[in-house]
Symmetry: C2
């Protein structure tokens, strides 16, 4: 998928919404526990209820890995289900990988070939050769952590390096030269909206994947006001606020209502 195609979906649906599938067995409605594949059954209902509102889905690998091979099977089923539901939905592996070249190649094969993800989140700490193998797959994307939404972001990402620029700006400045607006995005937390202006100076047209709305306290309005590119360029994630909006028989309806609230105020 290209950036233009993704921006077209955003205009068509009037939505920046990415639904994070951080599915925790302990939090899914009780009536699903008797299903053979409860996490998949939960995801399928969430996807059915939100597919016309969402641009992207973002399974968080940790939650599936915690369940071992059974979790990985339900992840495969989930990715296949999204793909069959609507081929224009963008599917992100929230995996935050980052390793040397030959290992990065294996991860790229895992996420882009074994699974049919469109994109994977990556940590930049190991530098260029840990990112580049992901940029060799036509139509696939690397999403590099820049400034994250959690408190620990200030431990290193906001440290000033040479010439008084925070580390995350160096990450952005270097990374933009590794790929294009069609295969490289950045993660910027919604809790960091005071930094969006300087981020857009370095990467004016790159897509930003923005977590941290809802449970983490970021503001949707601030992100839309300061984070957009000229054509859209945002995927705004909400996980727990949608998945666990309800926990009864009507959880999917509640999820849909929560997703609809994320679309109010949309403007391009």
């Amino acid at each position: 998928m290209t950036a233009s195609e993704l921006n077209l979906e955003i205009r068509k649906k009037r939505s920046f919404l990415c639904v994070g599938l951080d599915v925790d067995m302990a939090r899914i409605p009780a009536h699903l526990h008797k299903e053979a594949n409860p996490v998949f059954a939960f995801n399928r209902a969430i996807i059915d209820a939100t597919a016309d509102l969402a641009i992207a889905y973002k399974p968080n690998l940790a939650f599936y890995e915690a369940m071992g091979t059974d979790g990985m099977k339900q992840l495969e089923m989930t990715v296949d289900y999204i793909r069959s539901k609507d081929p224009n939905l963008f599917i992100i592996a929230d995996a935050k990988r980052g390793d040397i070249g030959n290992t990065a190649e294996q991860y790229a094969r895992a996420f882009f070939l074994h699974f049919d993800f469109d994109a994977i989140t990556l940590s930049p700490y190991m530098g260029r050769d840990s990112i580049e193998p992901f940029l060799q797959f036509p139509g696939k994307w690397a999403i590099v952590l820049a400034l994250t939404s959690n408190p620990g972001a200030s431990d290193f990402q906001l440290l000033n390096v040479d010439q008084d620029q925070p580390l995350y700006e160096h990450v952005l400045m270097q990374a933009v030269s590794w790929g294009t607006v069609d295969n490289l995005m950045f993660v910027v937390g919604a809790t960091r909206s005071d930094h969006f202006t300087s981020i857009r100076r370095i990467a004016p047209e790159h897509f930003l994947l923005v977590p941290g709305i809802g449970a983490q306290g970021g503001s949707m309005e601030m992100v839309m006001e300061h984070g957009k590119s000229s054509r859209g360029g945002l995927l705004i994630n909400n996980s727990r606020g949608i998945l666990y909006a309800g926990n009864g028989i009507d959880f999917a309806e509640k999820a849909r209502e929560a997703a609809q609230r994320m679309l109010t105020g949309f403007a391009l």
Copy 2:
């Protein structure tokens, strides 16, 4: 496992060896391809041939994830086999994870509870709250990337931050306050032996996990000379140099010979 117990194994076996299980189906001997679980069959033979020489084994998750659920099953079999072979062998998940607190907890559960790993490698980019959940499991370890062996390490890890200290030293200085010598190690590449002295100034007694010997060009002698703590404190990894020392029927014997060569020059 405590640092003392690990140092005791090192003295008993006169070895710092960690065998990296980065097992690539394309590189395992042809005669194993007909096995039901060829990667596990390969690993079992390597483990049988090296268990009396090695302190630790380090499966690289990427190689197993690239094979999907089938790979994860063979990873489970491998971890269980090492555990049953000798309970004093230390098992590291080379996963380089790093995510916000609630996700980090899921990864910790995945690697420490679902799998029975002793340790997991982690990227520090997201800071303290991405590491701490791994330090809550008695006897389990977080292994934080400090200075890696790949060329891209110079993109960010060697950038000078406030007071002219490279970023990786800031990572070390902060991280040592998050855990203890019994639950926190650091990754330092063997190709960076000129930095070992400053690393040992900041973390004199912490274990260092050292990749980059062999294929990546690091020197075993330099690591042993400059990297040791007063009691040992090193796990020196070799993956491809051992796994693929031979590729015929006698691959396990060749692997043993390569492992034995890693032990020459051992001194404490």
